[in-house]
């Protein structure tokens, strides 16, 4: 057992942190994190990240990567997360979709998309959820029908965050309509140009001010070459990708800035002449959050380690996801409690403490245990896939 980094990894981290300290700003971090739309600054930052060799460390050389261990990507995610909860600006392509293209895509798709992902040039949005297919994703209805060299696609997706600035839609649609086919066996994955005729994107605004979208397809033609892997295997590809996606998306370090802000606030803010940091209850609560953040980091590191060594994962990434998303809510609750009356003040308001960030995290925290799968479904996965409990 070894909980340290190699000399090369330390070296990489040193170069990376120097770069991030210089180039990454709060504005760039928040453009992606809050789904405000990745603007020119974040796009430019993304290209610089790639140009300096910080993107694609763990990707195969033939597609523009450097062929090293996934550990490097995780160091990148951690170091970015420590700075305003930042993520790789074009993260859906980089942390999710790209891995499935690498695993399942045709050689043509790999050559077309992977180098551009690694150069930080393109972004994807996930097209999974539909109004009637949430937790029960396999019941999706969007139809893709073969016509000559194309699939013609009709239907509606919802909660497709990033759809308004992505170049590509990573779309799951039904391709087998024979009755009695189990619903998860008739789904395929496509890469669709977002500027294809027949696609309409409408904004949905969340309670924390982020934009997500509904996406409508009306007779959208997609070349057959844009089918990912085999027809009707899409749902399996989505499920096999989930573990790695959990490992890449749920980064405990992204909660570090919030905890540090709260500690700082407790030290600097007085009540009755004494710093809040001397209040035993506040001390206890923040200490518990620090403990849980250590635990969260270890959950993440353990399942990342499994992924890096190609050890089959069952419930480990799901534990990471469930725990971190719920820790987010507990931390926010502690924070709002410490800010007390001031917790109501939004960013931009007179008197708003900590730039109103805690109030924003509060609003956002309602999503964390829902997005990418609810905690309830997550616990089913842990129990059934991990502990072998029977399905109903």
């Amino acid at each position: 057992m070894d909980f340290g980094h190699t000399k090369e990894e330390e070296e990489f981290k040193k170069r990376l942190t120097a770069f991030l300290d210089r180039e990454l700003t709060e504005e760039i971090a928040r453009q992606n994190w809050e789904d405000k739309g990745v603007g020119p600054e974040a796009r430019e930052f993304s290209r610089k990240l790639a140009a300096n060799g910080f993107l694609g460390m763990s990707w195969p050389k033939e597609y523009g990567g450097q062929g090293l261990s996934p550990t490097y990507d995780f160091i990148l995610l951690d170091e970015m997360g420590k700075r305003w909860g930042a993520h790789v600006p074009l993260d859906v392509g980089y942390t999710m979709v790209g891995h499935t293209i690498l695993r399942r895509g045709s050689e043509e798709l790999k050559r077309d998309f992977l180098p551009r992902i690694i150069r930080g040039e393109i972004e994807f949005c996930l097209g999974y959820t539909e109004p009637n297919a949430g937790s029960d994703l396999a019941s999706m209805r969007m139809r893709a029908v073969e016509e000559g060299d194309f699939y013609v696609i009709n239907g509606q997706k919802t909660f497709n965050t990033e759809a308004h600035y992505s170049e590509y839609h990573w779309l799951a649609a039904r391709t087998d309509f024979t009755p009695n086919t189990p619903k998860h066996r008739g789904i395929s994955l496509f890469i669709v140009d977002m500027n294809s005729p027949g696609i309409a994107v409408r904004p949905l605004w969340t309670m924390s001010g982020e934009r997500t979208n509904e996406v409508f397809y009306e007779n959208v033609s997609v070349p057959k070459s844009r089918l990912v892997g085999e027809k009707n295997k899409g749902f399996y590809y989505m499920m096999e990708a989930i573990d790695s996606e959990r490992n890449h998306v749920f980064t405990p370090c992204r909660l570090t800035p919030l905890l540090e802000d709260l500690i700082q606030y407790a030290r600097e803010t007085r009540y009755n002449g004494r710093p809040l940091a001397e209040d035993p209850k506040i001390k206890d609560q923040l200490a518990q959050m620090a403990v849980e953040l250590e635990v969260a980091q270890l959950f993440a590191e353990h399942s990342r380690w499994m992924e890096s060594h190609e050890i089959p994962m069952t419930y480990e990434p799901e534990i990471t996801k469930v725990f971190i998303s719920e820790l987010d809510q507990r931390l926010v609750d502690v924070g709002m409690g410490i800010l007390n009356l001031y917790s109501q003040l939004e960013e931009g308001s007179k008197w708003a403490p900590l730039r109103g960030r805690v109030e924003w995290y509060f609003l956002h925290s309602f999503m964390t245990t829902i997005g990418a799968g609810t905690s309830e479904i997550g616990r089913n996965v842990i129990a059934q896939r991990g502990l072998g409990l029977p399905r109903a």
């Binding site: 057992m1 070894d2 909980f3 340290g4 980094h5 550990t71 500690i263 407790a266 030290r267 940091a277 506040i282 001390k283 206890d284 923040l286 200490a287 518990q288 620090a290 403990v291 849980e292 250590e294 635990v295 270890l298 959950f299 590191e301 353990h302 990342r304 380690w305 499994m306 890096s308 419930y315 480990e316 534990i319 469930v322 725990f323 309830e376 997550g378 616990r379 089913n380 842990i382 129990a383 059934q384 991990g386 502990l387 072998g388 409990l389 029977p390 399905r391 109903a392």
Partner: protein
């Protein structure tokens, strides 16, 4: 980053599990709860022959020279089996304190005989005044009288004092009653005049004692570590003891989860296996989360401690999480095992009682969070 266990570590774990499955069935655990001695000397000898007592001692002192992580894997299995007896007292509280604070001749005298299973030790540390855990609250007085010290006072929660050949007593030789400075450690022969023990009745039915020192005379040669400077060694031993307790808790909690998952796959209600109900599945998933977290943070804290990297926060975090985790796993276990698990004869009760004893040993979560708070600048 590497979570691999070495082949040797895997073998150690397997052989420990096999040995304890045979030698330490639950009938034995229950018998030892009622037994005055609380352990079996025959089994003790077998454990010594397997090299368990000396697993983490250097070879020069009769040990095997394994590292602390090997030792924790062994303790995990002991926690799983609810192993009764003075292993923890002898090796962790006795052996590690000697390793930490002892001079060469003390180590040479004691460690090989611990490794061979011939000597049982314990640490007399907490006192009636320790109404909240505090490693430095030491009021028992040691006064110099010529070439001897005279020890006077009462120790509480001293594990296995009734069978120990030797007690390490933390005494105050200087300073305020709760100061880390001015504490001295003494090796005290259990046959010393003026030394009396009495067994306490405890929730885990482990053998914890009150030990009274009435003018117990100890030779100055039996001072362990520097005069007035025993606090530092004590602190290090408390860290190791907390992590060793964490490992035991992980093993115990793992057993509870395995038992409950097995039960949920067999027990039917309303015509269905109870394991198909989401409420039961979620209880089990929560157990997995508590246990996995406890396991990794224990390993990481141990890895950090052994490399002499700053480890105060991690050790405290491990014991805070582990204490809460075992307690909650036990509570969830009772919920799944329901009425049958509430019966005294059920295995569940062995674990929930031990979860409480382990939680309060070497600082509960509230205590540990105070340390964490200090470490994060509060």
């Amino acid at each position: 980053m590497d979570f691999h266990l070495t082949e040797e570590q895997k073998m150690l774990r397997e052989s420990a599990r096999d040995f304890l499955a045979t030698e330490c069935p639950k009938t034995f655990v229950r018998a030892m709860e009622k037994d005055d001695r609380g352990y079996s000397p025959e089994m003790w000898k077998k454990m010594a022959d397997l090299g368990w007592m000396g697993i983490a001692f250097p070879e020069a002192y009769g040990g095997i020279g394994g590292d602390f992580l090997d030792f924790l894997l062994l303790l995990e299995e002991m926690g799983r089996a609810c192993l009764p007896g003075p292993f923890f007292s002898t090796v962790v509280l006795g052996g590690f304190t000697l390793l930490e604070a002892g001079n060469e001749s003390q180590k040479k005298e004691f460690l090989p005989s611990i490794a061979s299973g011939d000597r049982i030790l314990t640490l007399a540390h907490t006192e009636p005044g320790t109404t909240q855990f505090d490693p430095f609250l030491i009021q028992l007085k040691a006064q110099a009288e010529g070439k001897h010290y005279s020890l006077e006072g009462t120790k509480l929660f001293v594990p296995d004092a009734h069978v120990a050949h030797c007690l390490i007593c933390a005494a105050r030789t200087q300073g305020e009653p709760s100061s880390p400075e001015g504490i001295s450690l003494f090796l005290v022969d259990s046959g010393s005049r003026g030394l009396r023990w009495e067994l306490l009745k405890t929730v885990a039915r482990d053998k914890q004692c009150e030990v009274r020192f009435q003018k117990v005379m100890v030779s100055a040669d039996n001072l362990l570590g520097p005069l007035h400077g025993g606090g530092r060694g004590l602190e290090k031993v408390m860290s190791k003891a907390a992590l060793a307790k964490c490992a035991e808790m992980v093993g115990g909690a793992q057993f509870v989860m395995d038992m409950c998952v097995g039960y949920a796959k067999e027990r039917e209600q309303f015509g269905r296996l109870i394991g198909t109900y989401q409420a039961v599945q979620h209880h089990c998933a929560n157990m997995a989360i508590y246990i996995e977290g406890a396991r990794y943070i224990t390993y990481k804290a141990a890895w950090t401690l052994c490399r002499d990297f700053p480890s105060t926060k991690l050790v405290a975090a491990a014991k805070a999480w582990g204490s809460d985790a075992y307690k909650r796993v036990a509570a969830l276990g009772h919920q799944i095992m329901a009425g049958t698990g509430y019966m005294e004869e059920h295995d569940m009760t062995l674990y929930s009682r031990r979860a409480k004893a382990a939680e309060v040993a070497f600082g509960d979560a509230n205590y540990q969070r105070k340390i964490v708070a200090k470490e994060i600048g509060l």
